[in-house]
């Protein structure tokens, strides 16, 4: 608990283009967040630097600031029309105080977990890098493994050189989203599937990452590596502080023709794309073991295919029924799946 407290980071809320009345409402919402033991502060209007930025798109100031916001910032938009995008929540005007309060509290709760975990992972990675200044390998008990390291590199847009358990080095370019290595395909798969904690990480500059033009390295998308590593990382825990009771939704299907997958992944994708639900409910509906669902979730999350269904926590308790299909047709489809080799 002490470690969690020391790791807590206040969530900063700012706004742009809000009327006086809405600013007062937002200030009150932040007080509700603080009353739930989540460190948070509102730094005022005319400021686009918060973790959460509330923008009134119906004003010139709000409209102008939208394009300047960073992808990682959570944007709550007051608008007459729905806007779709990453980390964007649209509230259709007129705004109800209770709706704004519920959404901001939920986002702050999630952000708190993410920020704490990120700090913890960064501290461990920095410790590993520091200890490596003498080129020593470090075995970290609960520290990063290959999946964790790749994920952090993508999030932080950093460039690193990684060696797992003495296997060939891989260079990760989090800026361009690629991975470069001299290792062959089989060895790459072995590295990415490894659960070894014996991992050495060194931060490098962008210009130090080998490119395909050098001829001796193979270059592949970081997302493919994240997918494979995510499916293999058997820690039993979910990324970024998610729990099995959080209601999540699939934003897009994984590209299964170009990535490793199992028949269960098709089942999970079909269920999660038809309705947002918790992973616990997903387990109940599909009968896929929860530990396999966790692997699938982590892989999808790492490549931005799944996320929180904010504002729908009431769905946790909904009993989801399988869709009805007549037995004759069900039998036919099952036989077709067998015939195509995917049952």
């Amino acid at each position: 608990m002490t470690n969690e407290r020391s790791m807590s980071v206040p969530i900063v809320v700012s706004s742009q283009g809000l009327a006086e009345r809405d600013q007062r409402a937002l200030k009150l919402v932040v007080e509700f967040v603080i009353s739930r033991d989540i460190p948070c502060r509102y730094i005022g209007d005319g400021n686009a630097s918060g973790h959460i930025v509330v923008v009134d798109l119906e004003t010139d100031e709000g409209h102008d600031v939208l394009k300047k916001l960073r992808p990682g910032q959570v944007k709550i938009l007051f608008s007459e029309e729905r806007i779709v995008g990453k980390n964007i929540i649209t509230l259709i005007t007129p705004i109800k105080f209770d709706v704004l309060k519920k959404i901001v509290i939920e986002i702050c709760r999630q952000l708190q977990s993410q920020l704490s975990r990120r700090l913890q992972n960064r501290a461990e990675t920095e410790r590993a890098i520091k200890e490596l200044s003498n080129n020593k390998e470090v075995a970290l008990k609960d520290g990063p493994n290959i999946f964790n390291v790749l994920f952090e590199s993508k999030k932080e847009k950093s460039c690193i050189k990684v060696s797992v358990d003495g296997m060939p080095v891989i260079f990760v370019n989090g800026v361009d989203g690629v991975l470069a290595t001299e290792a062959g395909i089989e060895k790459i798969q072995q590295i990415l599937s490894s659960n070894s904690r014996k991992i050495s990480v060194k931060e490098i500059s962008y210009s130090d990452v080998p490119t395909a033009s050098m001829g001796v390295v193979s270059v592949s998308p970081l997302e493919h590596a994240l997918w494979l590593a995510g499916l293999s990382w058997r820690s039993g825990s979910l990324l970024d502080g998610y729990s099995v009771d959080d209601v999540v939704k699939l934003k897009a299907w994984p590209n299964f023709t170009r990535n490793n997958f199992s028949p269960d992944h098709l089942k999970l994708s079909a269920a999660l794309s038809s309705q947002a639900m918790s992973l616990r409910n997903l387990n109940a509906l599909t009968q896929v073991p929860l530990n396999e669902i966790i692997l699938f979730f982590n892989a999808c999350y790492a490549v931005d295919l799944v996320g929180m269904d904010v504002g729908n926590e009431n769905k946790k308790n909904i009993i989801i029924e399988k869709k009805k299909i007549n037995s004759k047709r069900r039998n036919l489809l099952s036989r077709l799946a067998d015939r195509l080799g995917f049952s």
């Binding site: 779709v84 699939l250 934003k251 897009a252 299907w253 590209n255 299964f256 023709t257 170009r258 028949p263 098709l266 089942k267 994708s269 079909a270 794309s273 038809s274 299909i325 047709r329 069900r330 036919l332 489809l333 099952s334 036989r335 077709l336 799946a337 015939r339 195509l340 080799g341 995917f342």
Partner: protein, 175 residues
Amino acid sequence: MRLETDKIIFTGPVGSGKTTAIRSISDEAPVCTDVQATDGTRQMKKTTTVGLDYSYINLGDGKRVHLYGTPGQDRFSFMWKILVRGGIGLVLLIPNDHEDPVGQMEFYLDSFKDFIAETGVVIGITRSGIEDNACLRDYQLKLSERQQIYPVFEVDARSGSDVSILVNALLAILL
């Protein structure tokens, strides 16, 4: 020809690979109604389907799943509603080198919306890497805007493995 009901429909614009995809997973070479292309289609390929493609997958015990490919040209769109009646689901193939592939995806999703609502659809992006006018993310974003989370995969229509994965995603939705 009597139109069977245990059928999967393959659709998409001219040159998307419908005939090829059916051929890659069926047990018999498809019956094709190809003729020499004479109109604008000629710029894209030498032959084009003017009626429909037909083949099947045997399941044993005399049971089959029938595979129908719709003609790609707009002037045959009147056949689409006839073809889909009683069908299992839709496989939509979009050639990524089309000048507006995402627009084409929307067109077909709208054209078959009633059938899709009753059954399901999977989307295969063919001809990637030839002249890419969109990336996978573009299709995903457009579907997200439409609040439709359908499977969208990169597919080589010649590859039985790719087309099988596409059909299996359709089965996962239906079951």
